[in-house]
Amino acid sequence: MSRLSVRKTYKLFIGGAFPRSESGRSYVVTSAKGEFVANAARASRKDARDAVVAARKAFPGWSGATPYNRGQILYRVAEMLEGRRAQFAEELGGPKKAAAERVDAAVDRLVWYAGWSDKIASVRGAANPVAGPYFNLSTPEPTGVVAVVAPADPLLGLISVIAPVIVTGNTCVVVASENAPLPAITLAEVLATSDLPGGVVNLLTGHQSELAPWLAAHMDVNGLDLGGVEDADLALKCEQEAAENLKRVFRPASEDWSLDPGLSRMTRFLETKTVWHPVGI
């Protein structure tokens, strides 16, 4: 006797929970060959607003956690991801060997960034020489809530944009790739089970053009990564909206995710705090 198939409902990931879109909408996700794969939630601007609220709420706890602790949690995410390699490889589709390699690269990328959590301050901070009886120390600080428009690469690209944002203590709202949103939601299941506090990463699936401008205009968002926006007009509009509250905007040229990522994505969403300490008192 054949079993009834139990299909997964792909929902959003906001504040550690998996709600449907407030709007009740969904859209059809198709494979590269145009076949039906699943329905994904189509987030509205109100979902984006709720996600920003969740990210803001999570910010004090996450940015206040020790870098060591954040690193441990990112390792944990990598461990969880490792256990689901087969599932991700299947969801990515395409030739099996290539897909498996992409998943491995994603896990390795996460581990690489996790290692940076307690080292970035040594690289980006400084003990500045000053002419006076003071210690003068500069340390990198997270910038706040970062809105990320994820690139088309559904797993390695996604990990490569989320990990550098959160490892330094930011929280984020991510708009997943419009055409391949399913690995993002499966990644959300990984994040939800790896001690990552709810709200640190919020994942929205839906239309980029519907969500990105609202996030770019939102006064409670501090940074904006437009890496995944391919429409130049939309990117320009987002940049203009983001100027209203002087968000840190990152609009990289198209990237090859297999290369060494470097520090640029981490440092883009850091601010520098400099303090003077009197000596000998």
Partner: protein
């Protein structure tokens, strides 16, 4: 009403008979009606109006042990000019010892000064202390007194004691308006909420208020619904209009608008003014201002651009 309300409080027996003779509240019905009214969609221009109305109904409140003169002055300044062209709020609400500071700051602005009194929030003290607490606040310049009822006595069934306390405090208020806090979170049943509402109104309350804000649950929609029904029925019976003030737990614009819908659909448009309906809140004001900003600019506002409170 068959009984004349003047005779109701003649003795403990008649008062009890009257309060227990009130029709019972259908709990499921009240919950469902409140939930149903909460789903009304208020958008665009109607929302803009509702937000401004809600702002003008706010009793901006600070009731912390850590309140300072500076904090009260800052709050009063915000009450007079919330910012962005928003209307001033209805009143500020403080502890009795800070009334003088608040009254001095808001003088001439039209913002009223309300003070909690009568051993707020528990109400556990003697009648003499409660009356002198009230007198202190009135002498310092309070326009409105928020008293708490003795919930212990009410739950024990000593309705006359509660009644006489309200009458005594009302006498001590003089010209000041009296708001009676029922603390519905401690009254256990909706029937008790209805009884306490009537008891307070018969005793001379100008306003009935849900909660102190110190007990959860505070102002839930069904409780506000029952109190609105009570003031409506009371006006039908006696011709005297009594105001309602839900307080505590109203934090978002959505909550505030749900309350306004409830007022319009239950008591009627007569109550939709700051004179007869108030929202006791502190953090609500910033959310209302943020929503106002969103409607004005078309972009979501952030708390960084509004004052801390």
């Amino acid at each position: 009403m068959t009984t004349s309300l003047a005779d109701v409080a003649a003795s403990a027996t008649t008062l009890r008979a009257f309060l227990h003779g009130l029709p019972g509240v259908d709990r499921v019905g009240a919950d469902q009606r409140a939930a149903m009214l909460g789903t009304r969609s208020i958008k665009t221009t109607a929302k803009a109006q509702a937000i401004d109305l809600a702002i003008s109904m706010v009793d901006l409140t600070t009731l912390e042990g850590a309140d300072t003169h500076g904090k009260v002055r800052a709050m009063c300044t915000k009450a007079m000019r919330p910012g962005g062209g928003a209307p001033r709020v209805a009143a500020v609400c403080v502890y009795p010892d800070l009334v003088a500071v608040a009254a001095e700051t808001v003088k001439g602005s039209g913002v009223k000064v309300a003070s909690v009194a009568t051993a707020f929030p528990s109400g556990r003290s003697s009648l003499e202390v409660k009356v002198s607490d009230t007198a202190l606040a009135v002498a310092a310049g309070a326009d409105e007194i928020d008293m708490v009822i003795d919930r212990g006595a009410f739950l024990e069934g000593h309705y006359l004691k509660v009644f006489e306390e309200i009458v005594a405090v009302k006498a001590a208020c003089g010209q000041a308006h009296l708001k009676v806090i029922l603390e519905t979170g401690e009254l256990a049943t909706y029937d008790n909420v209805r009884r306490a509402s009537w008891l307070a109104m018969i005793a001379g309350a100008d306003f009935i208020k849900t909660s102190t804000g110190k007990v959860a649950p505070a102002a839930t929609l069904p409780v506000t619904l029952i109190m609105l029904e009570a003031v409506r029925d009371f006006r039908d019976a006696t011709g005297r209009q009594v105001g309602v003030k839900p307080a505590g737990g109203i934090r978002t614009t959505k909550d505030a608008i749900k309350n306004l819908v409830l007022v319009n659909e239950t008591a009627g448009a007569d109550w939709l003014t700051p004179e007869w309906f108030r929202l006791g809140a502190s953090s609500l004001l910033n959310d209302l201002l943020m929503q106002r900003e969103k409607l004005a600019t078309g972009r979501y506002a952030g708390p960084d651009y509004f004052t801390l409170d």
